[in-house]
Symmetry: C2
Subunit: 773 residues, 2 copies
């Protein structure tokens, strides 16, 4: 845990130079616009510790690395979003001496991620080895108003000398991934051009043959006017640069504007890339840096209007939650249904930038409540478009008749993870994808989605579950052998309560969805029967039989749901009794030791209770919570939020707040000592849920909003904003009151602590908090 960043409600600020934490600062100050993003690397050369990172959404490499030999059915590659050609670089020389903060005395260093307006700023003074002192400021952003563009303003001023300053803005396609096995390069340079003040470079990914064209335009000013320069054009196979040298007097500021465009073959034909890149640069230059920055601030102001959480009385918590919301909004904008949310977003290479069940289980509720309905819908359509590949994937594993198994990790619908216990056995993700459909319709009321897309997915998944179970002769019930639950600290177990539960839930929901479509859209139903080759009677009755006769492990003595068969044979130790030097166990213990211990990465059973809480009474929830929570090490960043929500549900407000704290500043305080690899983007949505579903107690039941708010005693107030079926609602909870603003032109009916409430159009409800006993 590190606390070197300045607490500020709207910015992440590194005040003073912390080269030892540079990679952490690079992660947390990352910027992105849904289409591309980058770590907060320095523009100028830096020979100290750094992890260069620039990513273009959807541009991946299928790494075919084999270790030993593979088990049959393994995916053919391991996808990774590539570190892409970089446009931020500006080499700087002062009278021929390279500016490199690793070799300078650095003063007044400040790096700030301004979340309110969406830009990254850096200022510092550097004394070079020669003694020359310069003042530098840079400001850059990836435009969220025009997602093909980025821009940098880089200013430098000599403080104790006059001389010549060289700035060499460049485009570099000679980049590698940090995780490259043999330092291999994944990009082939295809085309380039460099002229005075502009240039582009097109590179192609190996194997996948995506092309990315990156261009730049340059403007140099000295104290706001033009400047006499000497120019050298540099051109190598994978690199172009304008090397611009200008005389500068002491106290004069030399300012470089570098506009960049990134376009890819995802959106243009290869032979149109250069034109598209140039058109984008034309737009940038025409608007100009200041106006681009204004537009950036305006879009962010809208995003904050829709999704902000305001916490009064706790600036660290305020900063933490805003950081999470900012990252979620800059990672996924919902404008392209082919894109999704990588666990590290645009902040690092880890997890390959690919899609996990995190999207459905953790991220969807955030986008549902804070963005246009279309944004969440596109997350669902992403999976719908992958349905044929999910069916193919299931076929590879021996399933038939249109059964669909969605991949655990994917970029284009194909499975691309290669640990068998996850790829083949962590099949609960299939349930999460079904649940997301339910969750989306529950929240939006968009039942039409079932007709158009949802039912096909549900039937595919239900067919998978129906084949994945078998009737045990011993038990005379259906069992599901050889699975891995969300608690990945158990592998290849039998009858995982969570997986079996979400499996039969899927069957139930699919049966009801079939009826809904049949009744509401008989023609479409007939069409779907054809498309799906549905044997309604036999399939339905098989599914109903499984629903009726599924085996779920329980312990009658403890009156709890049992995580899996045989869990109680393990040595039962509580986390509090574990030597703290042994934690986190995933860094201290070998895998076999973790597997045979009773410790839980994230609690399966509690995850199931969270999803299906309306099925369980408070005592059942409490008994299971009290059994599993003390055994849970929360070594998944996805774990604490579910515990926070359940703790809130059973009225344990202090625990709820404790769990919230674990995630809210996870990356800002480098809690898990891994922020340098990138930020935990998907778990940030869990933090949002801790506040809205946990503290706010927000639920949607039978088409209506419910709230059960409480407020941590450490806070003065908190406000969260949600969209719900055409309403924009702000909910503010103080220690004494609840204020709900209905910003819509129609009245809002909802439930507060179980009591029906109404607010007229564009009106406010102020109510004192009287929590029922």
């Amino acid at each position: 845990m590190k606390q070197y960043l300045t607490i500020n409600e709207w910015s992440i600020i590194e005040d003073g130079f912390h080269p030892e934490y540079n990679k952490i600062s690079e992660s947390v100050c990352s910027i992105g616009n849904g289409r591309m993003g980058q770590r907060a690397n320095f523009e100028e050369k830096y020979s100290g510790e750094t992890l260069p990172g620039h990513y273009v959404a959807g541009i991946y490499y299928p790494d075919k690395t084999r270790v030993g030999w593979w088990k049959n059915g393994y995916p053919e590659y391991f996808a990774k979003i590539l570190n892409a050609p970089s446009w931020i670089g500006i080499d700087v020389e002062i009278d021929g001496e390279v500016l490199d903060l690793a070799t300078c005395q650095v003063q007044d260093f400040r790096r700030e991620l301004n979340m309110r307006e969406g830009y990254l700023e850096r200022t510092f003074r550097a004394q070079l080895p020669s003694g020359k002192l310069v003042e530098v400021s840079s400001l850059r952003f990836t435009s969220i108003a025009d997602d093909e563009l980025g821009a940098i303003r880089y200013a430098i001023m000599p403080l104790n000398f006059s001389g010549s300053i060289t700035m060499a803005p460049y485009l570099d396609a000679g980049i590698k991934n940090a995780d490259a096995n043999y330092d291999e390069r994944f990009w082939l340079p295809i085309a380039r051009e460099v002229e005075a003040g502009s240039g582009y470079i097109t590179a192609e990914t190996k194997k996948t043959a995506f092309q990315v064209c990156t261009g730049m335009r340059l403007q140099l000013e000295k104290d706001g006017t033009g400047v006499e320069t000497t120019l050298e054009l540099i051109e190598r196979e994978d690199f172009i640069s304008n090397r611009i040298t200008a005389p500068v007097e002491e106290g004069e500021q030399l300012v470089l504007y570098k506009y960049a465009a990134v376009v890819s073959s995802e959106n243009y034909a290869n032979n149109k890339l250069i034109i598209a890149c140039n058109l984008a640069l034309d737009r940038a230059v025409q608007i100009g840096f200041a106006e681009m920055l204004n537009a950036q601030a305006a879009v962010w102001a809208e995003k904050w209007q829709d999704s902000d959480i305001i916490i009064k009385g706790d600036a660290a918590a305020q900063q933490g939650i805003r950081f999470n919301i900012f990252q979620l909004n800059q990672t996924y904008t919902g404008e392209d249904e082919r894109l999704n949310i990588g666990p590290k977003g645009f902040t690092g290479e880890k997890y390959g930038g690919t899609t996990y069940w995190d999207t459905e289980a953790y991220c969807l509720p955030f986008y549902l409540a804070t963005a246009d309905q279309q944004v969440a819908r596109n997350l669902l359509v992403y999976r719908y478009k992958h349905l044929p590949k999910a069916i193919e994937n299931a076929q590879k594993l021996g399933f038939t008749g249109g059964a669909a198994l969605y991949p655990m990790v994917t970029i284009n619908g194909e499975e691309c993870h290669n640990e068998w216990e996850i790829t083949f056995e962590e099949i609960h993700r299939n349930g999460a994808i079904a649940f997301a459909i339910y969750d989306y319709i529950r929240y939006t009321g968009d039942a039409e989605y079932l007709n158009q897309y949802g039912l096909e997915v549900l039937v595919g998944i239900s067919r998978f579950w129906a084949q994945r179970v078998h009737l045990s002769n011993e038990k005379n019930q259906y069992v599901m052998l050889g699975v891995t639950g969300p608690n990945e600290y158990e592998n290849n177990i039998n009858n995982n309560w969570y997986t079996s539960t979400i499996a039969t839930w899927t069957l139930e929901y699919t049966l009801s969805a079939l009826q809904q479509v049949k009744q509401s859209a008989p023609a479409r139903y007939a069409e779907l029967r054809q498309i799906l080759n549905l044997d309604e009677e036999n399939e339905s009755s098989k599914w109903q039989d499984i629903i009726n006769n599924m085996y779920y492990p329980v312990d009658e003595k403890l009156r709890i749901f049992l995580q899996q068969d045989g869990y109680l044979d393990k040595e039962q130790i509580l986390v509090k009794d574990l030597d703290p030097s042994q934690r986190p166990i995933n860094q201290k213990w070998s895998w076999d030791r973790i597997l045979r211990s009773c410790f839980i990465k994230q609690a399966d059973v509690l995850q199931g209770i969270y999803l299906f809480e309306e099925r369980y009474d408070a005592d059942t929830i409490r008994r299971n919570f009290d059994f599993y929570e003390p055994r849970t090490v929360h070594e998944s960043s996805l774990s604490p939020c579910v515990h926070a929500i359940l703790a809130a549900k059973i009225g344990d407000e202090e625990k709820a707040y404790d769990f919230y704290l674990r995630t809210a500043r996870l990356d800002l305080d480098d809690y898990n000592n891994d922020t340098e690899d990138g930020c935990h983007i998907t778990s940030m949505a869990g933090t949002w849920m801790s506040v809205v579903k946990g503290f706010g107690g927000m639920r949607v039941l039978k088409d209506q909003l419910h709230f059960h708010p409480f407020i941590p005693k450490q806070w003065q107030s908190y406000t969260f904003k949600i969209k719900f079926r055409g309403h924009q609602i702000d909910i503010t909870v103080t220690q004494a009151t609840i204020k709900i603003i209905n910003q819509a032109d129609k009245p809002l009916a909802f439930f507060l602590y179980g009591n029906p409430q109404n607010i007229a159009a564009n009106n406010i409800l102020n109510i004192s908090r009287q929590i029922p006993a």
Copy 2:
């Protein structure tokens, strides 16, 4: 299954050119001498299907390939014996036209591995695209009399023209592994020299920095006399060659002798390699090709004298068993305790040429019975020398106090396999290493081995087992969770009967070994107590407690040992009821499907019964055999031999013979469709065991040999040869009689069908077979 090879009792013969099977022929005709070996690649260029392979024992590369991210405690690399610089190459041109069998009309092609004398011979006529016809014969071997040497005689004769023939013998260090991930090269050229008639090239492995110096000397003759040639020396960074051109008349034979030496930094200082290589080449040239070949035949005659199995009445069986014995003898000679037996020997890259439990569980009995005691002993010393690394390995997994976990796959004592379910959980190998000590002493009577080496290993392994179990509260017995047994079609299971059985057996044996050493060598015992930091009382009583209170799964109804907890919850299907199109399941099914099926790769329980058969009565053996055998798919080449031995044991002679047949010609007939990757060397020892322990019923009990021979009704007779405590014994079994020759200068006492027998020194016992009912 392919049957294109000619049945011959002493040779493997490919008669007629089978380019479609070339890689298979290359595998089965591989030659080696324990120190180096090579696939039967052509000397001249070949543009058809081929898998080049030349291997130097002990020279490996630590592949650090990472896939995604690794679990904590994983080994740091995956070792592989490298494809090494090759010395066999001789490019041939006829009047400038390249000789390449892929572009010629090939006539009278014959490739023969002569197993009796240990060489590879190839003859053919080739009509080149120009119409020119040549006759070629080549003969080569890796010298088993001087294991740094190899030699080739390559002769070529024009049949329908006179012209110039170019032979360009070369050394090539520019080789790659076929399994290289990115076509990366693992060798760096270090030094080279080429002169008229000689040359060498030294190359160094990346990362491990092993150096190998490969040298050649050349002699050219035309019809037994000298020849006028023009010579061009070719030298590239990783390649040297003499390009020799000579005029040849129709019907004249041009003969090239190429002597090669391979020396490595395993045996010489780097700066002495060139000298050592030259000295070796001096020896070769001095002795000359014909004498080297005679010496080769002489050493092989001795090996056959010691280890042959002679089968009358079944030439295919004869060829099969000799092939197995030949491969075992050329893979491991026991002269260097740092070496071991890779699953593919010198015949291919697969399995990385590394050491598995195969050595102890399958290979040891062969070398024990057919070679000097020192050979088997060196296999044990190999593990003794690795004990510190095994302790370190256990420490990495959280074990303490000198507990040792031997690696599943190793080259120098470090674990270098990276599938967690194997590396961390297939811990039964530790038991096999303990059992090998017992097996060695049981066979040889060399109890002194315990004092010198064995006890330390046993204590280390016992300490591991004692920490790997825990007392279950539920069962009030010791349980062992999260293991993978020899049946690798179950992963991460609880209470694997085999592993638990061999664990407590190890504890028992260690306790008795402690007493033996204490009594026989009290001073050494005192010393060992110090070395081992042995807390005799506490450790012994803990071990005894585990022995007394271990939990073993059984099914009371079926009266069988249960492979693992919960095995009977699986859908019970017999192999005979499995659709043949679904087999082998490891090629047809995904891993999860295999895991949740009841099908067994090799039967755990039967493996345990085989090792500890004296504990079980015939009914128990039969019940377990009858239950597990029908569920076993034998998709490990190590599986059938154990079934053959047990079938023989319970008197099911036909089944024993059936199981024997599955392995005896596994590679010759390409039974598993994978011989092109290399031969199944370690399982060949299992085939030997099927005959000697299965058909011959050989056992050693209380320092005495026992035989219970039967003979398959398809055979006239079979003879096997064993060494036992200074005796050389030949046992011949016919349909009617048994003949046992005691070749030692001392009498031999033993048991035949349970009855004591004696044979005087250098005498013969002839007895008619009267098998007790």
